[in-house]
């Protein structure tokens, strides 16, 4: 199959790779940063005044990180950003594995301890 016919089907017609953080036409300069700042302020205040429901706090924090990635890092799922986006996805995957894996394993060990940790501490004294 010739390059031209593949291109017509949109398979190789992709933009060149782009560096993360580079201001591009689809963001509107200072307005993009201002929008990000506005979202970040709203989300920060919202998380401060929620009644402390863990799931809600986690959702607000993840939303705020998303706002930072889009408006400050300018990472998108666009064609030039494939490598940046894949690296980000893998980073998020490793972070999730480390944090939730550690919490799961430690909670499991804690639950299977014959004695509570406080007991052990007192025995050592």
């Amino acid at each position: 199959m010739s390059e031209r016919s593949m291109s017509e089907r949109g398979e190789t017609a992709r933009a060149h790779d782009e560096a993360p953080g580079v201001e591009r036409a689809r963001h509107h300069g200072a307005l993009g940063y201002l929008t990000g700042l506005g979202f970040a302020i709203v989300l920060t205040l919202a998380s401060l005044w929620t009644p402390g429901i863990p799931v809600l706090l986690a959702a607000l924090a993840i939303a705020q990180m998303g706002v930072h990635v889009v408006f400050f890092f300018h990472i998108s799922s666009g064609p030039g950003d494939t490598n940046n986006f894949l690296a980000l996805a893998f980073g998020v995957f490793v972070v999730g594995l480390v944090v939730f894996g550690s919490m799961l394993i430690m909670a499991n060990l804690d639950a299977n301890m014959p004695m509570s940790m406080e007991h052990l501490m007192e025995m050592q004294r």
């Binding site: 953080g21 920060t44 402390g52 990180m65 930072h68 690296a87 980000l88």
Partner: protein, 208 residues
């Protein structure tokens, strides 16, 4: 295919395996992006340690009694606004305007230094109250996590001063622009990590 076609509007049709190496602007930015992600993985280990040890206070003070929310909100505001002014600095060096770059770099530096000052005085107050890193596993994890973030901010401030010296002496040559771009990515990344610290460390105790 002749070499001439590479530089024509048909460039986009060259398959990725035949395009040759990417421009250095792209590879430098991508490499720094990978470094930042690995830095975030480093922080994830510290977050995991904190999450596991947050309730191990060894009968010492817990987060609910140690942390002052309005104080932390001011810290958060300093860092968030410095991230914003860092973005304005990126726009300024993007259009090669030295005065605007210096202005926004100075604002970013002042806000970052204010954040660091607030954090250090919080640490000093806690240690003064007998809640230092040796008091309990919770406090060891706290000082390690928040201290590592503070160390990154310190390095970022030193780097900002170095970059302004380079703008002054070398001007906006491509290598300086690349370094400035990496710097702004680094500074934004610190704000993302702080969102995690703010939520998990400072807002967490309300529901434990």
């Amino acid at each position: 295919m002749s070499l001439g076609t590479l530089a024509t509007p048909y460039e986009d049709e060259v398959p990725i395996s035949e395009r040759g190496p990417a421009a250095i602007d792209v590879t430098a930015g991508f490499g720094f992006w990978l470094f930042l992600l690995s830095d975030v993985v480093l922080f994830s280990a510290l977050f995991a340690a904190y999450a596991v040890l947050a309730n191990r206070t060894a009968s010492g003070p817990d987060g609910l009694h140690l942390f002052n929310r309005p104080y932390v909100l001011v810290e958060t505001a300093c860092l968030l606004f410095s991230s914003f002014t860092c973005g304005l600095m990126a726009l300024a060096f993007g259009r090669r305007s030295a005065p605007a770059t210096y202005l926004w770099a100075a604002v970013t530096f002042v806000l970052g230094a204010a954040f660091l000052g607030l954090e250090l005085s919080e640490f000093a107050r806690m240690i003064g109250e007998g809640a230092g890193p040796t008091r309990s596993a919770f406090l060891s994890a706290f000082f390690t996590l928040v201290g590592t973030h503070g160390l990154h901010v310190t390095v970022g401030l030193a780097w900002l001063v170095a970059m302004m010296a380079q703008v002054a002496t070398l001007g906006f040559r491509p290598v300086v622009i690349r370094r400035l771009l990496c710097y702004s990515l680094f500074w934004h990344a610190l704000d993302i990590v702080w969102v995690g610290v703010f939520t998990i460390v400072y807002l967490g105790p309300s529901h434990v």
